[in-house]
Every structure is written in C-alpha cells, then in structure tokens.
C-alpha cells in the first residue's frame, strides 16, 4: 500500500488545510543515477567546530562541489579553505558564530568536533549549530564528526566524545519533519583520509533514509585509492535474495556502478531472478542457501565462472513469526538458519577458499526490529542480532586482506512484507521514524552499495541502520 500522506497531493493538501494534528511528511530527495563526481554540486555547507579536520573538510567539500560557509570570528578560519577553494572555484565564505544572517539558507552542516575535550566544549554544538537549524533547506544534512570515545585515554574526554552521538540523535528527531537527517561520524586518528567517501555519501541524497546513526571510520582494513565515479567498475558482486525487494534494488544499484552482479535466489524463483539478472546485464545463480552443499556450490560457481567475487550481499532472509510458546521447531530452525547460519557458512567458505578476493566487501542484512526486539520474533531476532555480532567479530580477522564486513539494519521499508501488515500498525510504524515515513528498497540498496565501494574501506565491523531515525532500535 502506498503512503497516502506522501504520494497523494490531495491528501497532503487536505490534512494541511484542515489543520489536522497529523504531521505531513516531507518528500525525501533521492539520488538519480550512478555516483557523480560532484555529489554536492552548488550546495552550501556550513562548516563549524574547532577540530583537526578543517583542511580535510575543505578538500572533501570543495571537490564534491560544495561552497563552504565557515563559522569563525576572523578570516583566519578561512585559511584552510582558500587553496582548495581556488582549486575547485568554491571560495569559502565566513559567517560569524551565533548568528545566521537574514534570508541566508544552507543545505548542510558539518561540525568538526575532533577538538572537543570537556563537557563545557560541547556547548559549541549549541552555539554553532543552533542558529542555523531553522535555516536548513529541505532534505538537509547534518554530520557531526568526532573522535571515537573508546580511543580516549581520559574518561572526561570519552564522555565528551560520547556526548556528540546523543546530541546528533536528538537533533535528527527535530529536523526530520523537514526531510532532513543528522548522523555522527567518529574518525580514528590517522584515518582522516578515509573520511571523504563517507562524508560524500552522508551529505548526498543517497543517504535519504539514514538518520540518527553513528558511523566509525577506522584505519583497520587495508585499502588503496578509491574511484569517485563508476565506483564498482570491474567488480563481481553476489546478491542473495535478488529476485525482489531490497535484493533487486541493490542488484540494480551495484550494476549501475559497473559491477557484474550475480543474482542468487531459490530455484523456485527462477523467473523473477532471471528477469532481474537480464535487465541489469548480470548472471543468475539458483541455489537454496539452506542446502548442505550450498556454500560449496556457490564458492565453486563464483570461482569457475568469474574467477572469484569482490562483493557479497547477504540479503536473503525470512520471518517465521510466532510467540516462543507457540513456535514450532521448524519455524525456529528455518528463521535462525537462513538469517544467520547460512550467512556464516557461506562467508566462511568464500574466505577459506579465497574466492572472496582481497579488498572484498561483505554486507549482511540485519534488522532494526530484530535488534530492538519484537513480539513474535524471538527466532528472527536471534538471527538478526547474531549478524551484528558476526560482522563485529569477523572484521578485524579479514582486515589485513583489505576486506570489510558490515551489517545493514533496515527499519520500516515499503515492501511486500510491510504491505501485508495491518493498516493501523503499518501507519504507526511509518510515522515512528524521524522523517515520518517509511523507506524504499532503494534506500537500503544505496547503503549497501556504499558499503560495497572501495571508498568505504574505513567502515568495517559496523551495523548501519537504514530506518529514517526510527524510535525503536539499538
């Protein structure tokens, strides 16, 4: 069922005219087409905060096509932005702290909090961002950058760093009705050169349905320079459950970036799987992932037909909902095995046989309701929460090979599954997110695609929620 409040202009107008106490969600701006050289073309980005990343931000933002508006009390603050500004003809503009000049609007705010040391320093968030919140254009972006709390030696510093995350999560709820999102990024010292692709993604329309999330950028996995366009050229990608929904959307997006996508689904779904593969110029692989010999067959086929694989997206999943007391053993087994057991078996096999090539990317599908807990989903949640533990533990083990492994936890995404929900529950679930609406399969696909790119090398072992900033969830 389509979202009336989003898709139907008359319904939107009616609610607004009658002044009904229903918040009308803002239509989210979404990306069209593959990765661009300048994802932030002509955008005005407010850069504030006192930290070590000013030069890095200057380079990233101007190259991505944005005009930096730098908060500072003197032109000294502009200094790091002058050179890159000349290189890309994006001259910086200075704005006084604590004031937003009349009529000026911005598209994004980037706060550099890498220099914050004490709780008093957190006041910068209030002072620098506060005046501009109402000046953020629709589908605006806020990214708060800090250092990881876990890396801090002094507890007071750890506390300050952790504070950034709470601030961002709450701010996200305040700007969601505008279609805007806010996320935090924690950059390990020495991993600054890996921030660019993350920032380009989070500030772009590709991150439309990602809000309230923290992301960690580390130097853990080995990596080289990454392309900015045609980001998956020459790569082979395996997508399980590719016949429809999120899998289909992901396969399309990966192919649009130049990857050859191997679409895997059950033999019973031959028709739709082949159709997807044909449309995107990919290949079909029909395997039931719960079969005992599935890992061997998949590894064998990938090795033989493509010489290996660079990207593995474990998207196939099932629900077998029942309260624990009423659950049949096969319901338990099926949900846990498909959602977790098969994922581990296949990944292990691809790694053991060196079918997953160096610099590889693995993305596993978790779930917000799985992590947060949901009545009737003990089996599903055990599996989906298990994924979180799996990627966290495996990431350091494969980092030397330049391989990253992450999880994506979708929130309420408009698919066949959610169409089948009772109207009232569906309506409530939709409005629970900060942006007041459900996501689309492509939103999840965009996040998966990003984590599959060479540029996302700094992100590993993470679970990224694509939930529009839902109230529930870990």
């Amino acid at each position: 069922m389509s979202d009336l409040l989003l898709e139907n202009e008359n319904a939107r107008r009616l609610v607004k005219t009658l002044g009904l106490p229903i918040p009308v969600p803002e239509k989210l701006a979404r990306a069209k087409g593959p990765y661009e050289e300048r994802p932030l073309d002509d955008k005005k980005v407010l850069v504030c905060g006192v930290g070590a990343l000013q030069s890095v931000l200057a380079q990233i933002l101007t190259q991505a096509g944005a005009y930096p508006w730098v908060v500072g009390t003197s032109d000294e603050a502009l200094e790091p932005f002058v050179g890159p500004g000349e290189a890309w003809a994006r001259p910086p503009q200075r704005v006084e702290p604590g004031e937003a000049p009349e009529g000026q609007r911005i598209d994004a705010i980037v706060f550099d909090g890498t220099g914050l040391e004490t709780p008093e320093d957190l006041r910068q968030l209030y002072e620098f961002i506060g005046p501009w919140v109402r000046r953020l254009n629709r589908s605006g972006r806020i990214v708060v950058i800090g250092r990881p709390a876990a890396d801090a030696k002094k507890p007071v510093r750890a506390a300050t760093r952790a504070g950034l995350e709470g601030f961002t999560r709450s701010l996200a709820k305040e700007i969601g009705s505008n279609g805007s999102i806010a996320n935090s990024v924690f950059v390990q010292e020495g991993a600054e050169d890996r921030l660019g692709p993350v920032l380009r993604f989070l500030l772009s329309p590709r991150a439309a349905f990602i809000s309230c999330q923290p992301l960690h950028v580390t130097k853990l996995a080995k990596g080289d320079e990454a392309p900015e366009t045609h980001v998956l050229g020459g790569k082979v990608a395996l997508v399980t459950g590719a016949a429809r929904g999120i899998g289909e959307a992901t396969a399309e997006l990966l192919a649009a970036e130049g990857a050859h996508v191997v679409c895997l689904d059950r033999p019973a779904d031959d028709g739709p799987t082949s159709k997807v593969a044909q449309r995107i110029g990919g290949s079909t692989l029909l395997v039931d992932i719960t079969d005992v010999d599935a890992p061997e067959r998949i590894a064998g086929e990938l090795k033989e037909r493509f010489g290996g694989v660079d990207i593995v997206v474990h998207n196939a999943g099932v629900t077998r909902d029942k309260t624990l007391a009423r659950m049949k053993p096969e319901q338990w087994d099926m949900a846990v095995d498909i959602n977790l057991g098969a994922v581990i078996r296949i990944t292990d096999r691809l790694l053991a046989d060196d079918v997953l090539r160096p610099g590889g990317r693995v993305v596993c599908l978790s779930s917000v309701s799985g992590i947060a807990g949901n009545r009737g989903q003990t089996n599903y949640s055990a599996g989906k929460a298990g994924i979180v533990g799996f990627v966290r533990a495996l990431a350091p083990k494969v980092a030397k090979k330049g391989i990253t492994i992450n999880a994506i936890a979708p929130g309420f995404i408009e698919t066949r599954l959610t169409d089948a929900m009772p109207v009232a529950i569906r309506e409530v679930a939709r409005r629970m997110s900060a942006v007041g609406q459900g996501g689309k399969p492509e939103d999840v696909g965009q996040a998966i695609t990003f984590l599959s790119t060479p540029g996302a090398v700094g992100v590993t072992g993470e679970t990224l929620r694509v939930c529009g900033g839902a109230l529930v969830g870990a």
Partner: protein, 435 residues
C-alpha cells in the same frame, strides 16, 4: 619488407613559414554572402599569393571548422578544388570546438614530423552568418518520404501533412551555442565561472578595454599587415578587422547590461562576438622550407589537449592544458616570453589566469607544489585577442599561431605559450619557439 618511400617515418622538424587570415568581421555584416568555404578559399588564396608557393609543392590541406557545411563538410578538399590546386593535394577537415584552428595546425605539424608530408596548409574558418537552421527531427522524418520520392499517392502526402502538427514542433530550431549535455549556453557558463572565481565586472571590463586598445594599436601601427589580407566581398573590399574599438574604455563598457543573468557581469562588451573569418598557416619541414628559400618564423616545442567536466567549469580547460604543454616543453610559465590566450569571455580568461596563479589549484588539480605562475600583463595577449579581434570559431587557433609566430620572428623573443578554451570542457595549449 618493402623499402620505405617518400620519407615515411622520417624524423623532421616542422616549422611555421607564414600565416594569413581574412579580416575578422562581425557576423551578418560584410561577409554575409560568403560561406565558410568561400572564406577559406580567400584565406588560402591570399596565403599562396603572399608566399609565392609553387602549387605542386603542396602535399595536403588540413582545415578546421565548427559549423561545418552539411553539403560539403570536408572543407579542406573543397579549398583545393576551388583554387584549382593540383588534383594530388589531399585534404581533411577536423573539428574541436574553439580549439579547432590549433588542432588543424598541430595535426599538420604532426604529419610533417612523422614524415607523412613536407608542405601542408592548415587553418580554419567559420561563418556564423551562414549557420544552417536545422529542422526538428520530427519534421525531417516526416518529410523524408517526399524528399526521397517514396511518397506517391495523395494519401501519402496527406500522411506527411498529418505528421506536421502541431506546427510548433516542426519549426526550424534556433541555433545557439549551448552545451549538448548540459543545455547551458556558453555565456551562462562564463557567468557562473565569474561568480565562482570571484571575477568582478570591473576586472572584466578593464580586460576587455585593454584587448581593444592593444588590437587597435596593432592595426594602426601596421603590425597586422603581414598577417591580414584584404579580401573582396560581394559588397566591396574589406581591408581590416571591424570589431575592434580603439576608443572604448572600461567606463564605457561598464554601461552595458548583463546578457545572461539579471545580476550578472557578462555583457556583449566583455564577451567575444559572433564573427565571420578564416585563417591559414603554411607549415613545412625545416629542410623543405630552407630548400625553397623560406625563412621559418617559428616551430612547435610542444602542445597539449585536456578536458574537464563541462558541467563544472566549462572554460577552465586551459588552466590544465597550459601547464601540461609547459611540462612537455620542459619549461616554466616564467620562461615563456609571450603568452597568448583565446579570449572567449573576459571572465573566462581571468578565471584561468587566477587558477594558474593559485598554489591551491596547482596542488590539487596539477599535483604541483608551486603555482604555475602569474601571467605578466606586459607579455600577455600583446595584440589583443578574440574579445576585440573577433572569434570565427575554427579560425582563432590559426590566428593565434600566426600572430605569435610573427611576434617571435619580429622581436627575437624565444617562446610563446598559447592557451585556448573550448566547448565540451576542452582545453588546448601549445608552446612555440623561435627558429
């Protein structure tokens, strides 16, 4: 293996022997009745007359054009036939937007250096006055059966008519200088570049005024007499460039209204005008030139072509191509005795010089630790440029090569750096050296 013949593969130096152009005339003026082939004929005829070149020495013609005549796009061959040159004079025509003229000349130089030819006439022309009006594809497809005699019955004719509705769909399209991929008119791109590079209206007008003053002085002093040949047009003889305004000033130019944006800075006064004209350059192997008794003017030390994203800064290409040509020549900007840049728009020229002077640009875009350098006003576009002289798209590169080659020969200076921006985000550059 067969023995190599006629110097094929022989390494030899290509030299510029002479260059002649028609006067550059504002579009829809005295050259209205002359199409691009007529103009080319006039330029090449003048070149042959001035140099007394024996026709049987000519190996080939390499010509360039941007608005090519669809009935005879290989202008080079038409020139040879029109001027009754020996049938053996082969010809090809190239196109590279506003860098077309330079492309034709460097193609000729490359052919000579490869031993493919010894004597080549290169150049380019354009007649904006004779740009074809295109019918929309819909009209073309509907009319095709009539044009090719496929329609025979009254019903067929009615069918053709029926496809012609609504009438607005089949009206000829107004030609405009717009990027095919972005739809942006070039003036709008210049306007955006002015904004992004913070080039003021005053700076643009001052630059334009200087261009006019320098060109006017060159004309008045007779400096251009060696390279501009009077031509006979249907309305009478045309002796000199007619766009140059020696009496203009930044103050006068500041009164013009912006054309491409309400609060913009690009005006008819600081943008190059639509122009008709042609320019021809005679290139030879050095050996041949000496044997025929010519004194070479200059030679190419290097050239370079580059491209940037046209959706970003359409006309910044020279800021990439010029350093590339300098690198290939083993030179720095300060080593160049002269710098000559095509002036599409004052805003574009000043954006490029600003980029060249920027350390940030050099670091990020060129991977250099130092700025390419400041362009010295005294040695930069010493005789004006496209803003004042005009800009027949295909001819400009050949005009610049000629003027700089003559300048080197006259002044005894050593090198000249050329830079040209072009549609599609292209940049072109070359380094000329004295011979």
């Amino acid at each position: 293996m067969a023995k190599k013949k006629n110097g094929w593969g022989k390494k030899q130096r290509a030299v510029i022997v002479a260059g002649i152009r028609t006067p550059f005339v504002k579009a829809f003026g005295q050259f209205l009745k002359l199409d691009t082939i007529d103009l080319s004929d006039l330029a090449v005829k003048s070149l042959l007359e001035r140099t007394d070149l024996p026709h049987d020495e000519i190996d080939s013609i390499v010509w360039g054009g941007v608005i090519l005549p669809s009935f005879a796009p290989n202008i080079a061959r038409e020139i040879a036939l029109d001027l009754r040159l020996p049938a053996s004079v082969e010809g090809m025509t190239c196109t590279r937007a506003c860098a077309t003229g330079l492309q034709a000349v460097t193609l000729a130089a490359a052919a000579i250096e490869r031993g493919e030819a010894d004597v080549v006439i290169a150049g380019g022309s354009d007649s904006t006055s004779n740009a074809p009006l295109n019918l929309p594809q819909k009209a073309v497809h509907a009319l095709a059966p009539l044009a090719f005699g496929k329609a025979s019955t009254p019903g067929d004719y009615l069918g053709v008519l029926a496809q012609m509705m609504p009438i607005t769909d089949i009206l000829p399209q107004k030609p405009k200088i717009a990027e095919r991929t972005t739809g942006e008119v070039m003036g709008e791109s210049a306007e955006r570049m002015a904004k992004r590079n913070e080039i003021t209206r005053e700076a643009q007008d001052e630059f334009a005024a200087r261009s006019h003053h320098r060109a006017a002085e060159a004309i008045a002093s007779g400096r251009f007499d060696d390279e501009v040949a009077p031509v006979e047009a249907p309305g009478g003889w045309v002796y000199a460039d007619n766009i140059v305004r020696g009496d203009t000033s930044a103050e006068k130019l500041s009164k013009l209204r912006p054309v491409f944006a309400k609060d913009g800075t690009v005006t008819a006064g600081n943008a190059s005008p639509l122009t008709d004209g042609a320019a021809a350059v005679l290139l030879m192997s050095e050996e041949k030139a000496r044997a025929l008794g010519y004194k070479p003017l200059a030679a190419f030390r290097s050239w370079a072509y580059a491209a940037v994203d046209p959706a970003d800064q359409l006309l910044i290409g020279p800021a990439i191509a010029m350093p590339k040509a300098l690198d290939r020549a083993g030179m720095n900007l300060k080593d160049a005795s002269l710098v000559d840049m095509h002036e599409a728009f004052a805003a574009q020229v000043l954006s490029v010089t600003k980029a060249l002077a920027s350390k940030g640009f050099a670091e990020v875009r060129l991977g250099k630790s130092q700025a390419v350098g400041e362009v010295d006003e005294a040695t930069f576009n010493v005789h004006g440029g496209s803003l004042s002289i005009g800009h027949p798209f295909g001819a400009t590169g050949a005009r610049m090569v000629t003027t700089m080659a003559n300048e080197l020969a006259r002044t005894g200076k050593e090198t000249a750096l050329l830079g040209i921006c072009a549609a599609g985000g292209l940049g072109a550059a070359a380094v000329l050296e004295a011979v």
